[in-house]
């Protein structure tokens, strides 16, 4: 599997990009002696004009490069944690619905549809507005709006796997239904879940940026969305303030998408778009 993944150039570019972002996020305190909130120079310093401040300063004279590095921490953290939470809600619900069928399925799917009928972003805004905008509430809000597709995917996968003969064989072996679900069915649904999760991290990062852009971010956390939001009034005079965080978002999301696609090709070789004999 790793062989197939590593032979995919796009996926490897994605891995390199993502690793770079992760390293910058982890080593931000070592790379920059000042916090992103500290004013270090005069405001509106253009990029590449002063040593030590390669990306210039913002409206208050804070180091843009340092802000980017710290912003990576927030984006990645929110992306990963919210995806994990979404999986924790979506996988069990979808698995139960798909495996037990009938009224369990009906109930779970109506509940899922209830969430799907409300526009994602609007619901996220409402949730963050109701709770205080902190990193935790933002993460939970994103998780709550992004689990329904997981539940649907897992349900469909479980439904197709549970009709296979080895599940019948497990029933004949006298295994209990929950045990069949856990040991026989779920392990066979893992690959599409992994693929979907990698793409969900990307979506979550975008959602978090959008929330911060609207000023609904955690006021104590520097994030890429917040940077763009704060710079939008000066976008014509100080382009770099919105440009660099924008690039950071694009690259990170692109990296995750490339990885997701690579995983998809590697885990489902028969669906690969390249011809296979």
């Amino acid at each position: 599997m790793w062989k197939r993944f590593s032979s995919n150039i796009g996926a490897m570019i994605g891995v390199v990009l993502l690793l770079a972002v992760i390293l910058i996020a982890i080593f931000a305190p070592l790379l920059f002696s000042h916090t992103p909130w500290q004013m270090v120079q005069r405001p509106f310093l253009t990029p590449f004009t002063m040593d030590g401040l390669p990306l210039g300063t913002d409206t208050l004279g804070r180091d843009v490069a340092s802000q980017l590095a710290y912003g990576a921490r927030v984006s990645l953290l929110v992306g990963l944690v919210s995806t994990l939470v979404a999986l924790l809600i979506g996988v069990p619900l979808g698995a139960l619905a798909g495996f037990y069928g009938n009224w369990v399925d009906e109930g779970a799917m109506r509940f899922t549809e209830f969430f799907q009928t409300i526009p994602n972003f609007a619901l996220a805004i409402v949730l963050v507005a109701i709770f205080e905008p902190t990193l935790i509430s933002i993460t939970i809000a994103i998780a709550i709006v992004s689990w329904p597709p997981v539940a649907r995917l897992v349900r469909a996968e479980v439904m197709s796997v549970r009709k296979r003969e080895f599940v019948d064989a497990a029933r004949l072996a006298g295994l209990s239904r929950p045990r069949i679900l856990m040991t026989q069915v779920l392990p066979n649904t893992v690959s599409p879940i992994i693929v979907m999760a990698s793409l969900m991290v990307a979506t979550a990062i975008l959602l978090e940026s959008s929330l911060s852009f609207l000023g609904l971010g955690d006021p104590n956390a520097m994030s890429w969305g917040y940077m763009i939001g704060a710079a939008r009034t000066v976008i014509r005079s100080a382009w770099w303030l919105s440009f660099f965080p924008g690039i950071a978002i694009v690259l990170t999301v692109l990296a995750l998408n490339l990885i997701g696609e690579g995983l998809n090709d590697a885990l489902n070789p028969h669906l690969s778009r390249k011809g296979k004999a």
């Binding site: 003969e165 019948d168 029933r171 004949l172 072996a173 392990p187 296979k276 004999a277």
Partner: protein
């Protein structure tokens, strides 16, 4: 001049395949009006040869050398446009699975007419008339209705007839048939074979008929070539190959065919392992506001008994309810009425929880060796899950699993491997070991050897025969193939449309069948006459 002559053809497989050539240096010729059967097991390269002729090789697979001369042209080297003109018009092909080869969203008549349209022949009205004639010619009932039908509305045999009608549309000189009857019931298969023979008479076309079944060869072949791992190992007229095979491999293939030679009769057993009484199962589909519910009586008031130590064959065509009966007997399907008595307990009446504790009494060997093992579970797990749930200590269950793997001929080290490391026949052995691990009172084998190549099939049948002697097993052996049933079973039960038609010892059923339907089934077995001659 030959209709088609293939000279020193080699087809290369992509790097990393298990061998370098799909077919290597093969040569053969088909004369006008002749049926050449290409026989071989899966992986012998017989389908690749056909695909190469049609220019349908999968990506990565290429013709390395050789020629295929058809009407004085090498069809392997033609430019794509000329190949396309040739396909359908001069060379036509029919496939194994008529459902997937027909467009599910197009009416049969339109699909046939499209063949004419693709080659720019005739006007709309003429195309329709021609299509109608073709449908009539291939013997489809009620042509006016068929022409407007969609593929899903036809049965398997009817679809294959429709495919043949399409293939015949432009009166090709060569018809390539790739296992066209493998997916069909015996009686339907017999009809399709007869149709192909008739059409050959009428149109004088050459037929290249690919099959794995020597019974089919005996029915229709003029010439035979036997392929193995991409090489031709034997060739000759049908009569000489069948009666006097020269190559070892051919002889083994012929020996492996269940010939219908009957095993010595055994004394009937009195103690029942399984008693089925008045079993009924009705499937209801559809049904809405305006539509009545469609009812299919899959099993309709069937009673039968499998004695302890007996192998009862349950034979029937697809849709006869034999599989449903098997699945009801292990209670994977809950019956609508009747009793399933195993050792005095009525499995049909147990609650889910009680049933779970009784499960081990009846075990099943499944048809599809690729779907019946969990791809993410090691063999050891598959073999010990059941016994451990039953209460056997783990160490003991594992020791038993290893022992069983030895018994079914795989070796104890198979336990730590994953299913994908095994071939179809080996997986079926694992399936049998899994059933045995539960020490069941009865094993139900649902088409357990149907998906296997003949030589592998023979090995698995040998294993089953050996095991029943060793452990005095009771087996309900479900199959569509009377020849297979004859090899293993003591008694045979014949099912048709959910009802039990006839039940009796193998000798009674084969030598003295009482019912018309049983006689029909026996007559439809391909190569029946030849087998009889061989058995005498």
């Amino acid at each position: 001049m030959s209709a088609l002559s293939i000279e020193h053809l080699s087809i290369g497989l992509p790097k990393g395949a298990d061998r370098a050539f799909a077919v290597e240096d093969i040569s053969f010729a088909i004369e006008k009006g002749e049926i050449l059967c290409v026989v071989g097991e899966s992986g012998s390269g017989k389908s690749m040869t056909a695909n190469a002729l049609m220019g349908l090789l999968p990506p990565g697979v290429t013709v390395k050398s050789g020629r295929a001369m058809f009407e004085a042209r090498d069809i392997l080297r033609l430019p794509e446009a000329e190949k396309q003109a040739l396909r359908g018009e001069r060379i036509a092909m029919i496939f194994q699975e008529p459902m997937t080869a027909l467009n599910p969203l197009m009416r049969i008549g339109e699909q046939i007419a499209e063949v004419f349209a693709a080659h720019d022949r005739f006007s709309q009205q003429e195309r329709r008339d021609k299509a109608l004639n073709l449908i009539r010619e291939v013997g489809l009932p009620d042509p006016e209705k068929i022409i407007r039908a969609y593929p899903f509305q036809l049965s398997g045999g009817q679809r294959q007839r429709a495919m043949i009608a399409m293939a015949l549309a432009l009166e090709p000189k060569l018809l390539i048939a790739d296992e066209p009857t493998t997916a069909l019931d015996v009686t339907t298969q017999a009809q399709i074979l007869k149709l192909i023979l008739d059409l050959r008479e009428r149109h004088g076309m050459a037929v290249m008929f690919i099959t794995h079944d020597f019974g089919v060869v005996a029915e229709i072949a003029d010439q035979v070539i036997v392929m193995r791992e991409g090489r031709v190992v034997e060739r000759g007229s049908a009569a000489s190959v069948l009666t006097d095979p020269q190559h070892d491999y051919t002889r083994r293939l012929l020996d492996a065919i269940p010939t219908g030679k009957l095993p010595p009769a055994r004394a009937p057993r009195d103690v029942p392992a399984l008693e089925i009484k008045g079993l009924r199962k009705v499937y209801r589909t559809g049904g809405g506001f305006f539509r009545p519910v469609r009812e299919v009586r899959a099993v309709d008031d069937v009673s039968l008994t499998v004695g302890r130590g007996e192998v009862l064959g349950l034979v029937g065509e697809s849709g006869s309810g034999k599989s449903t009966l098997g699945r009801t007997a292990v209670r994977l399907v809950t019956p609508d009425g009747g009793q399933v008595l195993v050792g005095g307990t009525d499995l049909a009446a147990l609650s889910e929880e009680e049933l779970r504790r009784q499960r081990h009494k009846v075990q099943m060997v499944f048809q599809d060796p690729y779907a019946s093992l969990n791809p993410r579970q090691r063999i050891m797990g598959a073999l010990t899950d059941g016994p451990i749930t039953k209460g056997v200590p783990k160490a003991q269950a594992q020791a038993r699993a290893k022992e069983l793997l030895e018994i079914v001929g795989l070796g104890a080290d198979a336990a730590s491997r994953f299913p994908h490391e095994f071939s179809g026949g080996q997986r079926q052995r694992i399936g049998i070991a899994r059933a045995l691990a539960m020490d069941p009172e009865l094993i139900i084998a649902d088409e357990a050897v149907s998906a296997l190549d003949v030589s592998i099939q023979a090995q698995v049948l040998d294993l089953l025969r050996d095991l029943r002697e060793r452990f005095d097993l009771s087996i309900l052996f479900i199959t569509h193939d009377l020849r297979v049933a004859a090899q293993l079973c003591d008694r045979i039960a014949v099912m048709q449309k959910g009802k039990l038609v006839e039940i009796g010892t193998v000798h009674d059923i084969f030598l003295n069948p009482q019912q018309d339907y049983t006689r029909q089934l026996l007559a439809a077995v391909p190569g029946a006459d030849w087998a009889k001659a061989g058995a005498a």
